[in-house]
């Protein structure tokens, strides 16, 4: 597998290396406090990995402060892991790549695999010396904005990959079962293909083999020879698919549309396709 993935064994051996920082990012922001990998820092996606005033990714100054206080400098190897098969670990990965961090990796299988393997946990937060971090301006080639998606849909300029569940894609439901509805209309962006994020993963949370992943997308006509835009509901599931397409399969032109269905499905006059 590509060098952006590390195993739980690798983390167990390297978690306390001076140049390695393990970071947990969960959907359930209470999970870190239940117990985490010894030495790991916890980041809260709802407050620390976004702009909390405007709907946007984390501002550059805030990112620099977060990384600095996490004991990360520009040469640190950051290893991300989290619950829900690394949904928000992938969200953090995407943002770190936008801001140009060189060595970011994901722990294959995430928190679920670490727990299932009954590996060491602690509730102690690491005591870290702050470091100086200088981020690059965000690389917006990794991000799709609404006009990019409108153009892609209308002019078939890029393959749109809807990674939500089939029931969300068809408009049968407006949000995953049990979660609050966050849009006014159900369905999908015209022309999008349904390739649910979960098809990237094995039952233990690890990613499928490269051959399996290549086939999964090739069967839908996605071979990396044309631009791709992935989207979901709020952009974190599609970060995981973006990670697979861009960093595991090595496709060049892949963007994450983090506005996703909570933007498109609330937009007055936006075309919607069903089923």
């Amino acid at each position: 597998m590509a060098d952006v993935l590390v195993t739980t064994d690798w983390v167990a051996q390297h978690a306390k290396d001076a140049n390695v920082r393990i970071v947990e990012v969960d959907v359930d922001t209470t999970s870190y406090d239940q117990g985490h990998i010894p030495g790991a820092v916890g980041w809260n996606w709802t407050t620390e990995l976004c702009d909390t005033l405007v709907r946007d990714i984390i501002p550059i100054k805030k990112l620099e402060e977060l990384l600095g206080k996490s004991g990360v400098d520009n040469n640190t190897t950051i290893v991300l892991y989290g619950d829900n098969n690394n949904w928000f670990a992938a969200w953090a990965f995407w943002q770190l790549k936008m801001y140009g961090h060189k060595d970011v990796r994901i722990m294959d299988g995430g928190r679920k695999k670490w727990l299932a393997e009954s590996r060491d946990l602690t509730t102690d937060k690491p005591s870290l010396a702050a470091k100086a971090y200088k981020a690059n301006a965000p690389d917006v080639s990794l991000r799709a904005f609404l006009p990019d998606v409108q153009q892609a849909s209308a002019q078939k300029k890029a393959a749109l990959v809807d990674v939500r569940s089939p029931a969300e894609f068809t408009g049968e439901i407006l949000a995953p079962p049990g979660l609050p509805e966050t849009c006014q209309r159900g369905g999908h962006i015209p022309g999008a293909k349904s390739i649910p994020w979960g098809k990237n993963c094995n039952d233990d949370g690890t990613f499928k083999s490269l051959d399996e992943l290549k086939k999964l997308y090739a069967d839908q006509g996605i071979k990396g020879d044309a631009p791709i835009i992935a989207y979901c509901r709020i952009g974190e599931r599609s970060s995981l698919t973006w990670f697979v397409l861009k960093h595991l399969l090595g496709f060049q032109n892949v963007k994450n549309y983090d506005g996703s269905w909570t933007e498109w499905g609330n937009l007055v006059g936006a075309p919607v396709e069903k089923p």
Binding site: D83, K112, W114, S118, L179, G198, K274
Partner: protein, 74 residues
């Protein structure tokens, strides 16, 4: 400290398939409930026994999942 007794199983709830994941860390049992598709956590609870944690989480999950509406796909 380690997670002990990690178990997961699937069952229907309110017309949807859910996955119940339970484990113990130190003296506390943690239960998380995900929808199977798309695999999102939507309820969690703690307890002093596995049964207590699961019963509490399922109670929340049932309440939340009842709020999921189905729409026509036409």
């Amino acid at each position: 400290m380690r997670a002990e007794g990690y178990e997961k199983r699937r069952q229907p709830l309110g017309g949807w398939e859910i996955e119940i994941e339970t484990y113990k860390v130190a003296d506390t049992f943690y239960c998380t409930i995900n929808n199977v598709d798309p695999g999102a956590r939507f309820a969690r609870a703690e307890g002093t026994t596995r049964e207590e944690a699961e019963a509490r989480a399922l109670e929340k999950a049932e309440k939340y999942i009842k709020q999921t509406r189905r729409f026509s796909t036409q």
